[in-house]
Point group: C2
Chain length 161, copies 2
């Protein structure tokens, strides 16, 4: 089972190494990770997607909460969330395929953000499933390169409290 | 100076800890990091934004290349790239402010992806500067929560070779 966790940490060096070290020591594989600044420059926010059952997740949460520099841990399992990831996909685009490719991009509400005589670079945002779906539709044309941000997530509705 | 590096690594556990440990030991602060799968399930792709001069970057590159499980390191400094990040911003949205907020979202080609009686959640993609710009335009309304993926990057044009 996949879980999504958000970890708010002090924006200091070494924090990322401590957090990822904890996952590695426990043998948990991180499926995706996005770390960036927040509106408070002293705080970074990590969104971690990790596999494992609920017991495993509880352990991770407890261990994370013990780490210095960890401010807060949220586990979104079972909660109503909005979640998105961003992907850029560079695909073979010869003249004869362009119309077809543009249709696929339209259907997924993607954008073509770069073009060369042999390629399109497409930007698309959505759930993991949506990104997987466009990837599999594009792959017959030949994907030259793909990069994904990993998922970010937020509880639906106004902030509690 | 900010540098953007892409590191292709074997998708095994512990790799992230080794890479982030290297940055921590050398005292380099990672400003953002995005790690996700690629079209090859055995390979993960990390996009790292890090501060430092060119000498520092060369050192990092060399050290990374020595790490087991690191397949390839690219430094995009000075090269033509397309780069994007994704942000979700939850902002106070009372009825009287909604029209104004929707204008800002339109100008930045964002999307409103969740709504409650007191808030909008906005999705926006773009350069770091664009995300910073919409953040500062929204902040007078009161940002309840923000999450950013960190930057991902790709060389412009078709894949070389």
């Amino acid at each position: 089972m996949q879980h999504t966790i958000t970890v708010l940490v002090e924006n200091k060096f070494g924090v990322l190494a401590r957090v990822s070290g904890l996952f590695a020591r426990r043998g948990f594989n991180i499926e995706s990770l996005a770390v960036s600044i927040t509106d408070d420059p002293t705080v970074s926010r990590m969104t971690i997607v990790v596999g494992g059952d609920n017991t495993v997740l509880e352990q991770i949460s407890k261990q994370l909460n013990k780490l210095i520099d960890v401010i807060k841990v949220f586990d979104y399992t079972g909660l109503p969330v909005v979640e998105r990831e961003l992907a850029m996909i560079k695909v073979n685009a010869e003249a004869k395929n362009r119309a077809e490719l543009m249709q696929i991009v339209d259907i997924f509400r993607g954008k073509i953000i770069d073009i060369s005589d042999r390629s399109f670079t497409i930007e698309v945002t959505g759930s993991l499933d949506k990104v997987n779906a466009i990837e599999s539709l594009l792959s017959p044309y030949g994907i030259q390169e793909m990069v994904r941000t990993g998922k970010i997530a937020m509880i639906r509705g106004a902030r509690l409290g």
